[in-house]
Structure formats: structure tokens, C-alpha cells
Symmetry: C2
Subunit: 413 residues, 2 copies
């Protein structure tokens, strides 16, 4: 049983926005036991959507569409579906009532364009969109199914979680997706593959091993479809874990910052951060974890040197002698933020993210990261590359891993 | 002349990562005058890629593939292309030399798996990948073209910018994509569409107007393909701008934080931020702008109340009387950070992002935002929703717009 996703909108084809809906849907569907076979993105033109539906239905049992259902003229999914299924539009009183309620609650007068959201294809089963005006449309085509949803992420997510996935699970047989993730450092991709060659040779058919280069290492994914392989997965996972040894930094689907939080909670320690070049991205990664407030105190983003001096007590002569991107400044920052926020652990970064600011001795991508864990400080230099956006992400990732590794090694000893 | 993009990898179909490559490529290609007709994502299975290539070539002149070219067994693009074009692999000495150089520079021994990266399809024109081991492969098929690139974003971006786009521009006739963006507030999507109905009625054929709901408003996009429509675009853009009046907050492709930076620079003012619930995301948006260091001083991420008190001088009794999510705390935070970092402008936010922490009076999504511009403070309450990740993004967006709007209105007066 195969699902395909079709995301709709010219804004995706001109790169105005990144399609985050498809990955979110794929993640939720996979977790619920539905395999996604392909994702297709088309623009607003009706013919392109028709073409995509025809092609996808030649392979898949279920098509999930998002986008093109707003009240404006550029949105044409509803008419295209009428065309595809050969039916007209009828007024749906429940949708009309819902739209009227939504607008009266917001104190806005209903206009004809929004009223038209209650015109639905005759052949569709209509499901109310609890958080928006465009209804969810559910079409049967023999044994196949097509569902149209809004492209606004919040509306799509609510629809998927509350309406679509529960219905799919009632109507279709699902399978289990078994998966183990390992973040591995200290190997190049090919060296790791060589190290694991014999393991891969013996890996039986339903299992696959995938290598995904990531900041700070390689993300290995061992996976198979089918609950019946659960005990084999335990054995294979155990053997793989043994082969990886201490090069395995994290195991499971958890992010490094989640693991860091768990370790800190377990040891009843707390954390602060001092960021220069990453400009708040480390704090953002950490505070994206629900419940981070129980172990994360806060951060000083010392973008300008005056803030480094004033709030982090970095000495003026240290900056003048060694430069703001230096071991010495990173160390004073990490001590400074731990003192200011009264935490036992801290992370500090200073570096040059580009495109400007590089020199011969300190090219763009030069980063110093200091991590404090109880009384000990580790300070390391990295070169993360030459693309500003990537440099920020990589540096943040590496900084979190540096502290995580430090705490893990303490646990080993 | 139509381009299609095919992104390859099981990690995309299980939602392990979000496909950021396709949007980046689409943006660059559109800007260079190439229209992207569709984007397809398939997994690592060879048959699925063959199917996608066949289907895409039935419509497009140029196919750009990313992914599946690493040295490990899960990567099968190269073999699949040999299969598709009916050719074998041959050793390419230039690629071998390049890979050997890359490894010797990093001080790593070359292993057989990486050496195999120098085996290339006989029928491909081979272009060296300056930042990685997998070569770029350029195949002609009559008048059509297929290019295979790595999926690692940094390698793909370098390849596109330095090699692929320049070659495409030499070989194909490009068109111009004309585009005007406007961020509009104070209207619902349908109310704005009603307001612009007559404008849309008269809009001639090559032009299209698209509505994209966004934080803080609706992003309107007026666009057309073809340099010959440039003067008509000026006229239509001017009329649209007139119809939008003061409801138009930003114009052009620039982000709100870029415009904020330009206004601050122009007035020789500087900015700091104090973030509680957004946990550094506002600072991250601002510091993602190259050159932000000339007007952005830094931030205090006061996640815990102790940091609000210690670094931002928020009074204990204010927190006890009004709660940490309140007008009074937001105002003390904005004053506190401006004082600590000696800035003339500041943004402060405090709120409840969820999933935990909501109460009946202050449900999840409640946010107070204070903005300081010279001597004036504006403080407003918002409700941003119930999804943590979205709440963080929305709050950050709204906060930046609140200050931008405040500065703009000062300029009008």
C-alpha cells in the first residue's frame, strides 16, 4: 500500500518558500506505518496538477494533496479536482456554518470569496477544517483514494493529525517501520562503509543501511519495514552498535540537544550559552525542545564586542592581544556566561561566518568553541566552511556535540 | 524551455530531513531566467529513479538530479544512469587525481570505496566537484540534458553556482522572471482579494497575482515571464502599490529583518533584543543577514526568570504581581536590554509557546511584545497559536514587523 504526496503552488517552483509540508507529512505517515513512494511538487496551473494526479495514480493507492485551496484566484485545486472526477460544485451548509462561525468569532464580515469556500465538489466526502476555511476533501476512485488539504502548515498538520491519519488507519492495513539511528564521528563516509562492509554483507534482505553526512559526523540509519523483523532488528542493531564502539555519539531518533537535556536533568545540572557568530542559533536549537526551561537558563548573544565586555566580562586586553576569534576569548566567554547566569555547564562560540571578515590567518569558517562542564573547560578550533547559513548551522551543531561528548566521556570513566 | 528537479534519497521519503535543495535550486534557477516546471522526490530504489527520469523527460528539456552519489551502497544514482543511458563505467584520471588530492590534504588514506568515485559513466561529460569526491555528470540525450549532482547542500550549491548554471546559460536561451513582492497587513486573504478584484480583472495575460498567507500578513506576488513586459510590470506594480496604501509593510524581495537593518543603518541607530519564549530565534533571523554586525549589538536570552532579573533588571515584584508573561515584564525587558547593551532600539518578547505552560487566562500562544524606538515603547499582546515550532517562528516574525512598522510610521509622519 503506497502513498504519494503532491504539494501545489507556484511559490514552491520559484523557491519563494521551502516545502516543509512534505517532510512533515512523510515523517508522520512513516511513523504510523504508511510508506511514502514519491513526492511531487507542481505549480498552480491546472494541467500540471492533472498530469501529476494521473501519473501518481498509476502507481499509488493513496494521494495526499496540499495547497491551492485558498479563496483567491491563483488557487485552483478545487476546480481541477471537479474536472478530474467529472463533477460540479454544490453548497455545503456545514462548511458555510463553520466559515460563518470562524468569521463572527474573529469579528470580521463574511465576504463572497470566503462564502465560496463552502462550495464543494459533489463527489467529495467533506471533512471540516477545524482551524481554517477550506474544507478537507476526500475522494474515492475505485480502490484508490485522494485527499485534498490546505497548504498552510498549521492547517495541514491539524487536518493530518486529527482527521486524515486516523481515517487512513481505519481503512487501510498498515505496516511497521523499524528504524535505528546512530550518529558516528571519527570516520569519513567511505572509511565507515569499509569498516561496516562485512556487517552489510550479512545484512538480510528487508534491512537497509543508509549513510547521511551530517554536522559533526555521519548519521547511520538501519531500517526495515515489517513488525515481524523486530527481533532481527534488535540483533542487527546490537551488533552495529558494538561495531561502532565509542565512535557512536548518539543512538535513536533523538537530537543531540535532547540527549544533552536528558543528561543535564539526570545529573541535576543546568546550562547557559554565550554566542557570538552563531547569533542565537544554539539557543534556538535548545529552546525548540519542549521542557528545555527546566535545565536551560538562557544566553548572552554577544554579537558586538561591547556586549562581550559588559555582560560576559571578557577583558579588553584579551580581545586586543588575541583577537575576538581566539581560544582566550572563547574561554572568557564560557566562564563569563556561567558566572552571569549561575550555571554549572556552558557553551561559548566565537568565529567568522562570512561572507566578510576573513583574514589569511583566520579565514571565513574559523570557529573557537569552549564548553564548560562542572570545573573543566575544553576549547577547540574548527573550520566549518565558507557558506554563512551553513556555517551557523554547523557551528551550532558541533558546539552542542562538543559538550554532549564531554559529558558522555565523563560518564564512561 | 523547461527544467525539472529530481531529488533522491530515502531520507526524504521518510521525512528524516526536509528537502532544502529543491527550493534553493528553484530560487537560483528562476533568478537566472530558467522556469522550473516540477520537482520530484524519489527514494534510493533504482526503478523509482528510472521511472521519474522517464516521466520528467516526457515534459522537460533539462533534468537536474541531486543525491545518491556517495561512496556507500545505499547510493545508486550512478549505476541507474549507466542503466538509463546504456553505458558502462570507466576510470577518469582527473577525478582520481582530485580525490587523491582532497584526501591527502585532509591527511586521510584513500580507500577503495572513495577511489571508486573516479569510475564514471562512459557517456557522461565529467565536471570536477571542487568541494567533494563525487563528480558532476552531464549527459546529452538529443536536445535534452540531464545533470547529476551531489545531495550534500554545500556541494550542490557550489556545483550549481560555479559550474552548472554558467554552462546552462551558455547553452540555452533564458527568459526573464519579473517579480514584485508586497507584505500586506490589516486584511484577511479574501478581503484583500475582494479589494483587488478590479485590479485582477484588468491584469493582462502574462501577469499573475499570488496570495501567500505569512506571519504578520499576506505576501502578495505579482509576476510575469519575459523581459518585454518590464514596463508593463512597472505600471502594474505602481498601481498595485497605490491600492495597498499604508497596509503595505514591505515591498520587494527583501526580508523584514533586512529592511529593519537598512532603516537602522540609515538613521545610524543600533538594536538589541531580549528574548524569553522565542529562545534566540529573533537573534538568529537578524544575524542571518550578512553585515548585521554593523547595527545589531546582541541579545539576552532570558529563558529563566533569574536571568530576566539579573541581566535585564526585571523586578521580582513585577514578575510576582503580573506574571512573567505580561505587559509589565515585556516593558522592563526591553528597557533592560537597551540599557545593558547601550542601544537606541530594542525588541523584547515573553510568552507561552507550549505544549506545556498554558493557563485559562494565558493559554498557549499568548505573547507580549515590546519594541523600543528612541524614547518610545509600544507593547502589544498577540495570540499566535498552539504549535510550539510555529509559535516561535510567528512570534519572531511579528516582533520584527512591530519594530519595522514603528520606524516606518515615524518616517511617514
Amino acid at each position: 500500500m503506497k502513498i504519494e504526496i503532491i504539494t501545489i503552488g507556484d511559490e514552491l517552483l520559484i523557491g519563494q518558500i521551502t516545502d516543509t509540508n512534505a517532510a512533515w507529512m512523510a515523517r508522520e505517515l512513516t511513523a504510523e506505518g504508511f510508506a511514502v513512494g514519491a513526492i511531487t511538487t507542481v505549480g498552480d496551473a491546472a494541467d500540471d496538477l492533472l498530469n501529476a494526479i494521473n501519473h501518481a495514480f498509476s502507481r499509488a493507492d493513496i494521494l495526499l494533496l496540499t495547497g491551492g485551496v485558498g479563496p483567491t484566484r491563483d488557487d485552483r485545486t478545487k476546480e481541477t479536482l471537479c474536472n478530474y472526477f467529472g463533477c460540479g460544485l454544490i453548497l455545503n451548509n456545514e462548511v458555510l456554518q463553520h466559515v460563518e462561525n470562524l468569521f463572527s468569532r474573529r469579528g470580521i464580515t463574511l465576504n463572497p470569496l470566503t462564502r465560496d469556500q463552502a462550495l464543494v465538489p459533489e463527489l467529495a466526502t467533506v471533512i471540516t477544517n477545524s482551524v481554517g476555511t477550506a474544507p478537507l476533501l476526500w475522494f474515492r476512485k475505485g480502490e484508490q483514494l485522494l485527499v485534498s488539504m490546505p497548504g498552510v502548515p498549521g492547517e495541514m498538520r491539524t487536518a493530518m493529525r486529527e482527521e486524515i491519519i486516523p481515517r487512513l488507519k481505519r481503512q487501510f492495513q498498515v505496516n511497521s517501520y523499524l528504524r535505528r539511528d546512530y550518529l558516528v564521528t571519527g570516520y569519513s563516509e567511505s572509511a565507515l562503509a569499509s569498516h561496516l562492509a562485512l556487517f552489510e554483507d550479512q545484512l538480510p534482505a528487508p534491512f537497509s543501511l543508509a549513510y547521511l553526512p551530517s554536522y559533526g559526523g555521519i548519521l547511520l540509519r538501519l531500517s526495515a519495514w515489517g513488525e515481524e523483523h523486530a527481533s532481527a532488528m534488535d540483533l542487527q542493531g546490537c551488533e552495529l552498535r558494538r561495531l561502532l564502539g565509542n565512535n557512536c555519539i548518539t543512538e535513536g531518533n533523538k537530537k543531540a540537544e535532547e540527549l544533552l537535556g536528558e543528561l543535564l536533568c539526570g545529573k541535576q545540572l543546568n546550562l547557559s550559552t554565550a554566542e557570538s557568530c552563531t547569533g542565537g542559533y544554539i539557543a534556538h536549537l535548545i529552546t525548540s525542545i519542549p521542557g528545555a526551561s527546566s535545565w536551560y537558563m538562557g544566553s548572552v548573544i554577544a554579537y558586538d564586542n561591547s556586549v562581550k565586555k559588559k555582560l560576559l566580562k571578557v577583558k579588553n586586553e584579551t580581545i586586543e592581544t588575541y583577537g575576538e576569534v581566539s581560544r582566550e576569548v572563547a574561554e572568557q566567554m564560557v566562564m563569563g556566561v556561567a558566572t552571569a547566569t549561575e550555571t554549572s555547564c556552558a557553551i561559548a562560540v566565537t568565529g567568522i561566518m562570512g561572507p566578510e571578515g576573513g583574514t589569511k590567518e583566520k579565514p571565513v569558517g574559523t570557529v573557537w568553541i569552549a564548553t564548560l562542564y562542572r570545573e573543566e573547560i575544553i576549547t577547540r578550533k574548527y573550520n566549518v566552511g565558507n557558506n554563512r547559513a551553513q556555517n551557523i548551522e554547523r557551528t551550532a551543531g558541533i558546539a552542542i556535540l562538543q559538550l554532549l561528548r564531554m559529558m558522555q566521556e565523563d560518564s564512561f570513566s
